[in-house]
Point group: C2
């Protein structure tokens, strides 16, 4: 029996960086998914075939044995191994596994690829053993994997990937599900420059140490933008939502997390008709997001491509993690 | 007899836009000057030869008669005519004049070219008639010309051009002279895109109408940056001064007054070793300013040139308006 589980990636609309200190972040699940196909093995190996990450190999316990690609045991695979073992532990089963990992979500650019893989891993294994884990339990298992990859992640990515839709996250407070009766269209522009979220958080923290009151004022304003932006999203006021995205990009720039390439893609999007554009996620590379009317979609995608980025149209996805038996 | 007067241009270090609402601006006189050569004529015409503006012609009263260039009576020439007549009125004299206007200050890019021309005009005519106008009186006469060009100018440009050095300007409060015992070096990058200060002020005002509390928070932060930036300037702490310039650029970007070209020149400067860089003046074109160590000067100038801008090294000039008899 093969069980497939899939889970969505995410994009941050507002609140990156500022949420570390104050206020909320608005995060959207997107219609780009990671898929994990799981089947049992007769030994105790957990074999992983990850086309997207460019390697395959297996774990015996915590020990990685490469079959293809780097002999280096990537943190992503370690995370998947951990989630697999913790999921089986939770289910009270023991088995070897074949896991095929596939993803439409570009990795290491702030779109929640690793969380989606972890969520789908837990769900696929749950399905394989006909378990009855709740979504909350799957989310918590995925979080164990996220900790391997990101150190002290906020939990935003595994939550939005598990439940789908729109989440408002407030540090130290928790998550609130936001229901929209209509969602705008976005184009994501990928700079293809990978970066570490932790490193970017560190850069802002150091800037704040040197300029505390000024950086605190900027963080405060980013918090106001999250709140106001959410109200525009709920009212379908995309003109003003776009304008807030532009303002937000400037403030993130002032925190030193934009790059020439991100700025270039942001300008290209605006000039080709986006209603607003900003970097999304930690910055320092990664992606930007543009709010775009249906009829300007092709023009904005083309402008991003010409400017050297990789465009990807995304819609908000209300479909969280889901599981199906393949054979 | 020919009398030459010259007066410096200026660059805004901090406080553009925000000073319209709150807080202070820090403005530096630069070692690029406008020159006016004045001599008497035997008729009542005021003849102007303005190589830089690309036209020459004369006024009889308020009526412009072109000799070379556009038949259009440029506001700059109208301003010079007004300053000339008001200066003679103040001196209690009447005469025709030949005025030769020359300037090292690029016009219409926020470097105070028109104010420097007006200041030099008043001073040259004062010198020609061996008047004894005070600097304050010359400054006030130049302001009459500035009003013709800019509508309701702050008075920053004519003040800094008259007195030289560094001024702290606070709207509704006035000017404070700042004495530095050491000044940093700057490179100005000119996008060569002319823009109207009034139009850019209008753009910010409209953005504020739509997003008042958020824009007010940004303006507040820009005010804090002016104060902190001045303290770094006084302490010669250029590392932190540069960092504040970077933060300030992001905030001005969030107000919608940067352009792709300004961002490009700012990035090029930083990447080639500037300690900090920001747009200066109203934005929407015009210039950016980079804080640069002596040894990185050539690299930054070259980077600005490659990025499509026109670089200009400037130092703070303590020499305000000055007058000399030429023959």
């Amino acid at each position: 029996m093969i069980v497939e589980a899939s889970a969505p990636g995410k994009v941050i609309l507002f609140g990156e960086h500022s949420v570390v200190y104050k206020g909320s972040a608005i995060v959207l699940a997107i219609n780009k998914r990671a898929r994990v196909f799981a089947e049992k093995r007769n030994d105790d190996r957990i074999f992983m075939d990850s086309e997207d990450l460019g390697y395959s190999g297996f774990f015996i316990g915590d020990e990685y044995h490469p079959v293809k690609g780097a002999p280096w045991r990537g943190r992503s695979l370690t995370a998947v191994n951990l989630v697999s073992r913790k999921t089986m532990e939770k289910l009270g089963v023991q088995s070897g596994l074949n896991l095929k990992l596939r993803s439409e979500i570009p990795s290491a650019v702030g779109l929640g690829s690793s969380a989606a893989i972890c969520v789908a891993t837990a769900a696929a294994i749950d399905g394989l053993f006909e378990g009855k884990l709740s979504r909350e339990e799957i989310c918590a298992l995925a979080y164990e994997g996220e900790k391997v990859i990101h150190g002290r992640p906020s939990g935003v990515d595994n939550n939005v990937s598990t439940f789908g839709g729109v989440l408002k996250y407030e540090g130290g407070v928790g998550f609130e599900k936001i229901i929209l009766d209509e969602s705008p269209c976005f184009v994501i522009g990928n700079t293809k420059q990978k970066r570490s979220t932790g490193r970017m958080v560190q850069i802002v923290s150091e800037l704040r140490q040197r300029n505390q009151s000024i950086v605190d004022e900027i963080i405060e304003t980013l918090g106001s933008i999250s709140e106001t932006g959410l109200s525009y999203l709920l009212k379908h006021d995309y003109k003003h939502l776009g304008e807030l995205m532009d303002i937000c990009h400037g403030l993130l720039t002032s925190l030193g997390v934009s790059t020439p390439m991100l700025d270039k893609l942001v300008h290209a999007s605006r000039e080709s008709g986006a209603m607003g554009a900003k970097l999304t996620g930690a910055g320092g590379g990664g992606c930007m997001i543009a709010l775009v009317d249906e009829e300007r979609m092709a023009a904005v995608e083309e402008a991003i491509r010409i400017a050297g980025g990789s465009p990807m149209r995304v819609d908000v996805s209300y479909e969280g993690v889901k599981t199906r038996r393949v054979d």
